[in-house]
Amino acid sequence: MQDFGSAVWQALGLVASFDRDLLEIVLLSLRVSLTAVLAAGLVGLPLGAVLAVLRFPGSGLLVVLLNAMMGLPPVVVGLVLYLLLSHAGVLGPLNLLYTPTAMIVAQAVLVTPIIAALARQTVADIRGEYREQLQVLGVSRRTEVATLLWDARYSLLTAMVAGFGRAIAEVGAVIIVGGNINHVTRVMTTTIALETSKGNLALALGLGMILLSLTILVNAAVQGLRATAARTAYA
């Protein structure tokens, strides 16, 4: 067990020296989470927009479910996916268990409801403003959804960032379906959990710092983009 001060120093040293193992873990984390968020966005953004525009029997219930699913417990998602992907499971033949792909799927499942629910709210707000004008222009439902998504683009970035924050920080699901295998499925969060339990605080802290910095960086970038957009009243 190291004392905290020396652990921090060691951690800073690791980060500053671009330690190969560290870099590999960070890059895998980014690849998994960015891919998951992208996939979740491709499904979640249109889904949210459609739910904001269409009223059909059961749409209210669907919105309640969607909002509830924002709080899906990662370990439960991990467990269900594990059952599906394991050899005996329905998706067993795909041989995806303990691969980065399985981790991407797990994070995408977790993040899609977040992006969809936030997108629905964002699009509903902007629709309140646009509805009558679009109706007068004789816009079809499909064009309405596309228009609202496009005009809400800067606000929707926030939904994507919220999704990314959830994905990159998540540990429960990826550790179950990924298995935390060294050089294969080891990401920042699972490594932090493992190294902490082994008493290797330097690596854990180093990764923690990178994780925090990345999250802050992504948020700052999006905030900057939104501020620019706000100046042109596009946001």
């Binding site: 403003e129 646009y130 009558e132 004008q133 109706q135 007068v136 222009l137 004789g138 816009v139 079809s140 064009t143 228009t147 005009d151 042109t232 009243a233 596009y234 946001a235």
Partner: protein, 254 residues
């Protein structure tokens, strides 16, 4: 053309439109037990400018929205050229709101969007956009984000966007209520120009001066009912109803 030729002469001109004449039959709108609109029969044909006037809460804006198909009445029917409103034919009319609704795009892109949705040929869109911006004196602001324009410029853009579609009917809901006199006159010039090109204008306004300058016909509403319909000259020189007299004299009418 054959269909039109078979009709009596008086109806021939009207029959050519997809949304004209505008008709309302047994229109009734209630909210929380209160009657907001109760108009047994209304028919608007021809291409004069019609102003809807009345006190706050008289139902002018509501009637405008009902006629434009934006609000579904609780009872009664709206007919555009004899048929109920439909999305495709909504493209034949324009609507300008008191607070202009502009998309989060440039001024030019706002007009291009409307033209594209209305199905104008791709080759015509650039030219028509340019002409529409020029008509509103906005050619220098084509690339500017629409929502950073001044209030007057935004409303001119909204009117230009509506007119770019060459609508048969243009509805305006207090389009100059929050504008300065210069911007108001600019909007009025656009509206008068559209009338000259054959567009029927239905305008809600509180401004008697504006109605006098623009309108040939006045519909006066009170508590959701149409209490007076007269030519502008007649209305302003000798209004028939007590409510309209009070309105014109600036009295508070209870």
């Amino acid at each position: 053309m054959h269909e039109a030729a078979a009709l009596p002469v008086s109806r021939r001109a009207e029959a050519e439109g997809a949304v004209r004449p505008l008709e309302g039959l047994g229109l009734r709108v209630e909210r929380a037990g209160r009657v907001l609109l109760d108009i047994p029969e209304l028919r608007m044909s021809g291409s004069e400018i019609t102003a809807l006037m009345g006190f706050n809460g008289s139902g002018k804006s509501l009637l405008l929205r009902v006629l434009a198909g934006l609000v579904q009445p609780d009872a009664g029917t709206v007919l555009w050229a004899g048929r109920p409103p439909g999305r495709e034919r909504a493209r034949r009319l324009g609507f300008v709101f008191q607070k202009p609704v502009l998309l989060r795009r440039s001024a030019a892109a706002n007009i291009r969007y409307a033209l594209k949705v209305a199905g104008f040929p791709r080759a015509e869109i650039a030219g028509r956009t340019e002409a529409a911006l020029a008509s509103a004196g906005l050619q220098g602001l084509a690339g500017s984000p629409a929502r950073v324009l001044s209030g007057g410029e935004q409303q001119r853009l909204a009117v230009a966007r509506a007119l770019a579609l060459e609508p048969e009917v243009l509805f305006l809901d207090e389009p100059t209520a929050s504008l300065d006199p210069g911007s108001t006159l600019a909007i009025e010039a656009l509206v008068a120009g559209a009338r000259g090109r054959g567009t029927k204008i239905v305008l809600v306004t509180h401004d008697a001066g504006q109605a006098r300058r623009l309108a040939q016909e006045i519909l006066f509403l009170q508590q959701g009912r149409l209490v007076e319909r007269a030519s502008a000259g007649q209305f302003f020189t000798g209004p028939q109803s007590e409510a309209a007299r009070a309105f014109l004299e600036g009295r508070i009418h209870i």
